[in-house]
């Protein structure tokens, strides 16, 4: 009887695990192997894989050449009238939360056609990247990919203040690739849930007696960061030194922001004002000195939200917060195309 019960439970456990394994792709993000791209010299997901994102938004991204998310193939030959736009940015520009057809580069191309422009947008943004990473890659890709102009998509001004590219840790890459190619995603996710905090730091188990002292939350929101004009001058100069092509800095912060009531916020509200506005004005001024175009998407994002089409957030996340959604990418794409179609007079 006991042997039969043990056998029953063993088989049941195997069947239960198989059920989870089969159904988990519907709910669990994937872990795809990465490699160092020979052209860009950065770590990118391996070409031909599909990357599932399930927590905020619900989408599958096909990884194209040079780790470009959502671009399956590069056009074989560049046409004379074609404008090749390299899109740089972080996760806000990468767009793994939306299906490929809604990503920024996918929305730019058809909108450009309506303006009689033949634009091919190259999605080169990577989650976590900032100016240091973009400046390192720009000279490497310009010639081989036939880039005519660069779009630097920034959701936070601080993305422009770091000039040092992230170093590649090859040993971590090997370990991660071994895990991603041998262990099912749901097992990796389970281990991460058990051993890591949401921010990716290691969990430390506590068995000592309480109370535990917690640090007081900061009164000033972290996004308020005044940067002086000299730094913006340096930023613009470095960008200009990296490329002689047209550059568009696209500023699309999370606006309007839903400020939720809490310890230091007496009442929830929709915040339309950008706390970094002063800094942004200084950046724009410095950029103009180096013939760098600055596209301010803030009014369009706010107008979209006011029409109850929130550009940020997802139903299976939080509306009004987080990454851009399909509507948001359309708003940004329109603004970029508008700028390409009607270049400012210098």
């Amino acid at each position: 009887m006991t042997k039969l019960l043990v056998a029953k439970w063993f088989i049941g456990a195997v069947v239960g695990t198989a059920l989870v394994a089969v159904s988990s792709p519907l709910f669990v993000r994937s872990y795809v192997p990465s490699r160092i791209d020979s052209l860009r010299q950065v770590v990118v997901p391996a070409n031909g894989h599909q990357y599932r994102w399930r927590s905020e938004g619900y989408a599958t991204t096909r990884i194209g050449p040079h780790g470009m998310p959502g671009l399956e193939q590069l056009p074989a030959q560049k046409k004379p009238s074609e404008i090749r736009l390299a899109i740089w940015g972080d996760s806000q520009a990468e767009g793994v939360s939306v299906e490929d057809r809604f990503k920024l580069h996918s929305q730019i191309e058809p909108l450009a056609r309506t303006e009689q422009l033949n634009v091919v947008a190259l999605p080169l943004a990577r989650s976590g990247d900032d100016l240091g990473d973009w400046l390192a890659q720009i000279p490497r890709v310009e010639e081989p990919l036939g880039v005519d102009a660069h779009v630097l998509f920034i959701a936070e001004l601080s993305d422009l203040t770091d000039f040092v590219p992230v170093a590649i840790n090859k040993s971590t890459l090997v370990t991660q690739n071994q895990l991603a190619s041998t262990v099912p995603s749901f097992v990796i996710q389970a281990a991460r849930n058990a051993l890591q905090h949401p921010d990716g730091t290691q969990k430390r188990f506590r068995f000592s007696l309480g109370p535990v002292r917690r640090s007081e939350p900061r009164l000033v929101p972290a996004l308020v960061k005044e940067v002086d004009g000299d730094l913006w001058h340096q930023v613009a100069e470095r960008i200009r030194l990296a490329t002689g092509k047209d550059v568009y800095i696209v500023y699309a912060p999370v606006l309007p922001a839903i400020v939720t009531s809490g310890a230091h916020v007496p009442k929830s509200r929709i915040e339309r004002a950008d706390l970094n506005d002063q800094s942004f004005r200084k950046l724009r001024q410095s950029a103009m000195e180096f013939a760098i175009n600055v596209i301010d998407v803030r009014p369009d994002l706010i107008a979209s939200a006011d029409a109850n089409r929130w550009p940020h957030g997802f139903h299976n996340g939080r509306i009004g917060e987080g990454h851009l959604n399909a509507t948001g990418y359309r708003v940004v794409a329109k603004k970029i195309v508008n700028e390409l179609a009607n270049p400012p007079a210098r």
């Binding site: 049941g12 239960g16 059920l19 989870v20 309480g210 109370p211 839903i258 929830s268 139903h315």
Partner: protein, 460 residues
Amino acid sequence: MLFTQIEFLIFFVAIFVAVWVTRGRATRNAILLIASYYFYAYWDVRFCGLLVLSTFVDYFVAIEIDRSDDPIVRRRWLWFSLAVNLGVLGTFKYFDFFIESAAMLFASAGLHSHTLKLILPVGISFYTFQTLSYTIDVYRRQLKPTKSLLEFAVYVAFFPQLVAGPIVRARELLPQLAVVPDWSSRRCYGGFQQMLRGAVKKILIADRLAEMVDVVFAGPELYNSLTVWIAVIAYAGQIYYDFSGYTDIAIGAAKMLGYQFPPNFRHPYLATSIAEFWRRWHMTLSRWLRDYLYIPLGGSGGSAASTYRNLMLTMTLGGLWHGAAWTFVLWGVVHGVVLCLERALRDFSRFRLPMLAHWAITIVIVLFAWVFFRSPDMQVAKACFSHMLIPSSGIAWYPPLVLGAIACMVLEHLAWRTKLRFAMRLRADQWYSPVVTTVMIWALLVYAPQGFLPFVYFQF
């Protein structure tokens, strides 16, 4: 320490092994006592003193009450116990509330409040009610006081039920602590399944629902009517799965250690009246309020007016027990008023609606009352009601996981109603039990929202 933390799992396995390898009753109880105090001190070691105070006072008071035949002496000892227990509860839980309320009332006269800003000791409402019930039962000669301080200390501090119930009476637990329970693999398996079920309820359902509830209740005026309605229904689900999940883990843990706790929930959203709701929701609190407040006030034995008064007093104080805020008081008042109306309709009218209409009315009242319960202040409650009652525009947010969790709640209640509950028991020899158990364990590991939310009832 939260039941849903890995630390608790490690702690519980250690205690489980320790109590089943020891043989003596005293050693077993000593292990349980040390474990329970460690469990409490893990949160805040400073408040263990209150547990010790409550334990000593009621242990010795009960002996003195039992020893004396003089009604005056007995009553004096009872009042002493009431004063100490309710004094501690009142100081830590209600002092600031009453001072602030008085200051608001007399603000025009220039009265300023000086609050103590005391931390509310976790579980104080629960263990205070437990120790009070023990002393009152001894006073009523319904229970003989225990001679063992160790057993009584375990009864007060027993970790599975220490911080959020169920409110176990001394006559239920003390006799169990007076013997060494026999090992039963069937009972142990049942306890494990109940703990697992509780974890699924808490982590996979309640915490998911909380993700929407917390955001919408932080600013209901920003959202459209449908979103606010979904958030209110989600809160009904959150509090049910959070608290019944906690209770399942508590009952399951006790069962694995060899002890039986009374049930606390019986699918409350199937109730067709508020009276029935209270027979299905937080049942151990309902019976405590009935036996130690409503009946001593006179219950339903007097005139109709006195019955209504007793109902109102019981429910209002029941609301206040949940938290020191006017929103909790109003929640209790709403339930009290509806209980009075139900009684009046039953006594003075023969008109009866179809059962489905009774259920619909009950559920709407429960939902509206939950708005008071969840709202941090009256402004938020007002904004919720205005968006629920008047179609309003605003952010439209319909999270699929929340809608799925609400669907789970409806299906679970329907399954119970349609007698499909046999499938929920997961007997060890059924072919589907290992499959479902494995899926539940994987689901907890894979789909749990990262980071742990404390149980809602910990704040009471």
